[in-house]
């Protein structure tokens, strides 16, 4: 049977781990589980799912709350043709929601991966440690979605005017409305020859995870990880759990800095070192080196040192899968596909389209809480929430559309700690520890930007985040000044040390031509990825 836990909702109550201890396991608050437990576990899993106090365990139904269903008496498009491109988390979720909401027309889901949708978060966690086999990560078929699923068929172009999606095999699929959910892929090591060395890995797909798992199970002498973002840190954690020596090389001053800033980054650095990771910050890998037989032997670092390793994992972020949209006339580039808060794609001129929708890791959308700045979030929770809004809007008329206003929630588990955030931690100038203590690795840190609360991060204190989410939604003043439990450090904000917000104009991308309003047009210039 298939299981997935909405870890953005999970509060670490552990009821599931009590009732189905062979399926769900916990380390303090960090929950891990088997997404495809054997039939003999069925009763246990049903008990666990029923007992979850926040109903975060999904077996065969979609997550949206039931009251939402009741409130949806509005008129809806019930027939016609809908096409979804990208058959993973966002795409599959949207398909399920469309059917749940009564869309009875033709539904086609196009995916370039060979098989059914699976869940990615476990790939860098329990799959690497061997706790869960790679093929146990399939997502539950959210209510056996009736759709034409085209596996292993990449889309190669979108014809906006002709309302067609072109496939690599030459077929063209017409649509009335289309959802773009092609996500991202791992950024490869830029030197192709070095990237091709045996032992060099990236991690994005289930196939990647299976390969890496195998490599780790063969007990390499040392694993080298390039990049200490969430993925790199989680892989390092898995390696340490397997008692493998590991070196992590990070360009920034600490792990997780680009997501959570330097203050929390320093805590993360201690976490790495306490668990025996050889962490090299302010350092980059300059070259990967092979032996004579094309196998990885080690790496040279920017500080002149070398590391000997027979496995390397390149965890340097991701590239958005937008190339297929280059000639579509949509505002699609390295930053993602721009859309409005209703998930409707924006074209090159900045005009909102009406039948093209975007969701998940590729969507670049404005968030009113964050000064309407366009942002992309590579978060599980965002993919799900946005897919649900997009699906709803796809079958609703203008008057009944919903904005995607959910406050971003992200989680990670590494070194036995459950790290969870609400809001956008990089949207900050200051930070203060409100609850708990960083020394004990259980705390809540609150981020503020120009005097209001914009984000919070919890280490093994996820239960409290709902409260901080409320503060973010109300634009509560920062620093928060009230009496509360578990205040241990003085409420003194310090600079958050978040990286400069990256301006996504590294390449000249748009030229505007024409003079009078009827002929003025913008067009995108695409340069190849560096």
């Amino acid at each position: 049977m298939k299981v997935v836990v909405d870890l953005t909702r999970c509060q670490g109550y552990g009821q599931c781990a009590f009732l189905a201890p062979d399926v769900f396991t916990m380390k303090e608050e960090a929950l891990q589980y088997d997404l495809d437990p054997g039939d003999e576990q069925r009763e246990h899993v049903l008990r666990a799912a029923a007992a979850c106090p926040v109903q975060a365990i999904h077996l065969d139904w979609t997550a949206t709350r039931h009251l939402v269903e009741q409130r949806m008496a509005a008129p809806r498009m019930t027939d016609g043709r809908i096409v979804i491109v990208g058959a993973s988390l966002a795409g599959a979720r949207a398909a399920g929601v469309l059917r749940r909401d009564g869309f009875a027309g033709s539904l086609t889901v196009i995916g370039d991966e060979p098989d059914e949708p699976y869940d990615r978060p476990p790939l860098s966690k329990q799959v690497l440690t061997g706790q869960v086999p790679p093929d146990h990560t399939r997502l539950p078929r959210l209510r056996e979605v009736e759709a034409e699923w085209l596996w292993g068929t990449p889309a190669t172009a979108l014809d906006v005017a002709g309302k067609q999606v072109r496939l690599a095999d030459g077929r063209e699929i017409g649509f009335d409305r289309v959802l773009l959910a092609t996500g991202t892929r791992a950024r490869p090591w830029p030197n192709e020859a070095e990237a091709a060395l045996e032992g060099v890995h990236t991690l994005r797909t289930v196939a990647d995870a299976a390969r890496l798992r195998q490599a780790l199970a063969a007990r390499p002498r040392r694993v080298l990880i390039l990049g200490a973002g969430f993925t790199g840190s989680e892989i390092a954690s898995a390696c340490r759990e397997l008692d493998l020596p590991v070196t992590v090389v990070e360009r920034g001053s600490a792990p997780l800095v680009s997501a959570l800033g330097g203050v929390i980054g320093d805590v993360a650095a201690q976490l790495h070192r306490e668990h025996g990771v050889d962490l090299r910050c302010d350092t980059t890998v300059t070259a990967l080196e092979g032996d004579g037989d094309g196998r990885l032997r080690g790496a040279r670092l920017s500080d002149g040192s070398t590391v000997e390793a027979d496995v390397a994992v390149v965890a340097l972020g991701s590239i958005r899968n937008v190339e297929w949209l280059h000639d579509s006339g949509l505002a699609a580039g390295v930053w993602g596909v721009a859309c409005d808060a209703g998930c409707r794609a924006v074209d090159t001129n900045g005009l909102v389209t009406d039948d093209i929708f975007v969701a998940g890791d590729i969507a670049r959308f404005p968030h009113p809480l964050y000064q309407y700045q366009f942002m992309t979030l590579e978060h599980w929770g965002n993919a799900v929430a946005q897919a649900e809004i997009a699906a709803h809007n796809m079958v609703s008329d203008q008057a009944h559309r919903w904005p995607h206003l959910s406050v971003p929630v992200f989680w990670s588990s590494q070194f036995g700690v459950n790290i969870k955030s609400v809001g956008v931690p990089t949207f900050a100038d200051e930070i203060v520890i409100t609850q708990g203590s960083t020394a004990e690795r259980r705390f809540v840190a609150v981020y503020g930007y120009q005097g209001r609360v914009t984000a919070a991060v919890a280490f093994d204190q996820g239960l409290w985040l709902e409260f901080y989410q409320g503060l973010i939604e109300r634009a509560a003043p920062f620093p928060p000044e009230f009496r509360h439990v578990d205040r241990r450090e003085p409420a003194r904000p310090v600079p958050a040390r978040v990286p400069e917000r990256l301006v996504a104009t590294a390449e000249a991308t748009v030229v505007v031509t024409g003079h009078d309003p009827a002929e003025r047009r913008a067009s995108l210039l695409h340069t190849p990825h560096s």
Partner: protein
């Protein structure tokens, strides 16, 4: 006594048999100030919010008015983080994940065995009191076994626990006196457990008390006093609530014979049915020991710092803004998010055990009792409005099927 607010009427004994219309009235004012300055919160969303609000303390020592007798050494239920978290973690080590994950699930066979014995015990009769003969002995035996209380001490134990429960409750006029009583009984119980704990330290066994006494980790261990207060908590919270869950459960099923038949036919249904019982007739109706550390604005009301807060869990679980058709008992209700075990850091420690016990004993009663019916409806209730449940549950039946 003249009654004013819906809340006061809930506290009166006459409100015990069916408080739900009163809870509905209470919900009309989501955050209702009482004359004594207590704020009663009765709507789902607001309750959940306060359960997760770090400005709400569970430590009675934070109250402004301290005309109450000083408490017994507070157990973790009466403490805030970080002390709460540390003690709860230390207790959890010997009870559940991450260190003893399979422990509670492993109790199933023992629980079934005890249940079978108890039901066999009423087999020769046509009438039984399900509280005295089944709902009470099972959880007491289970919790005593877990903690390591010898069987022969169980009856003494029950008497003490009962006395303590009956002194719980907010707002009554005889509060101070009840507090004194509670303390006196508490001291006896503490004294007994202190002796037992000392025995276990010298001669540790497999039980939780031995674990509490002997475990020392990076964070240290429990002091002997902490062991005693934790044990008191687990004994009291761990049995009185489960008794009520089972008794309220059987009462509800007997009032819905069609549903009872369904459960008999489909054994897997007991799992969602127990969740529905926790929502529909929860053993813990009110959480009464919270206090605002700062001014808290919620649902248009400001709860001033220092005010006592009562969370009406039973009202929240039947809030129509949260659950469709809330007053209907529906054992198949999907996605049942209820407040039966509270929420936030104080989420019921013993919930997994209570669930297993209730699932097993209710399933067995439903399966084995032939033609069960209530003798008195409503049954007589225990006095506490906080831990609400029948004192007796007399039923008649045509026979008992073999195990």
């Amino acid at each position: 006594m003249t009654s004013h607010s819906a809340f006061e009427r809930i506290l009166e004994p006459s409100g015990r048999a069916d408080p739900y219309p009163l809870f509905a009235e209470l919900r009309k004012t989501p955050v209702a100030r009482q004359e004594d300055g207590t704020y009663v919160v009765s709507t789902y969303r607001e309750i959940v919010e306060l359960l997760h609000d770090p400005r709400v303390s569970s430590d009675r020592r934070n109250r402004l008015s301290t005309d109450e007798a000083p408490d017994m050494t507070p157990s973790f239920i009466g403490l805030d983080p970080p002390e709460h978290d540390r003690l709860r973690r230390l207790a959890m080590r010997h009870f559940g994940p991450p260190h003893s994950p399979g422990m509670v699930d492993g109790l199933r066979p023992a629980c079934l065995h005890l249940t079978t014995e108890l039901i066999d015990g009423i087999a020769g009769k046509r009438q039984a009191d399900l509280v005295d003969e089944v709902a009470y002995p099972l959880p007491v035996a289970m919790i005593c076994r877990l903690l390591g209380v010898p069987e022969e001490d169980e009856p003494q134990f029950h008497a003490w626990a009962d006395q303590i429960i009956e002194t719980l409750g907010p707002g009554e006029e005889d509060r101070a006196e009840r507090e004194r009583e509670r303390q006196a009984v508490g001291l006896k119980l503490e004294g007994y457990l202190a002796g037992l704990a000392e025995d276990r330290r010298r001669q540790p066994g497999e039980d939780m008390l031995s674990g509490f006494m002997t475990y020392r980790g990076p964070e240290g261990g429990m002091t002997p006093q902490e062991v005693v207060s934790t044990a008191v908590l687990l004994l009291i919270a761990g049995h009185e609530t489960t008794i009520n869950l089972i008794a309220n459960g059987m009462l509800t099923l007997l009032r819905h014979p069609d549903q009872l038949e369904r459960l008999r036919a489909e054994s897997g249904l007991i799992v969602p049915a127990v969740e529905e019982l926790l929502r529909y007739e929860p053993p813990v109706q009110l959480v009464s020991s919270r206090v605002a550390l700062d001014d808290i604005s919620i649902a248009g009301t400001t709860i001033p710092a220092g005010s006592p807060i009562v969370l009406a869990l039973a009202a929240g679980s039947r809030d129509p803004a949260h659950v469709p058709d809330p007053d209907r008992f529906d054992p198949c209700r999907a996605r049942n998010e209820h407040l039966g075990f509270g929420g936030g850091v104080h989420y019921c420690f013993g919930a997994p055990l209570a669930r297993i016990e209730a699932q097993i004993v209710l399933a067995e009663l439903v399966r084995r009792l032939r033609g069960p019916r209530l003798v008195a409806d409503p049954p007589p209730y225990r006095p506490s409005p906080v831990l609400r449940g029948p004192r007796h549950l007399l039923i008649e039946y045509d026979g008992v099927d073999p195990a």
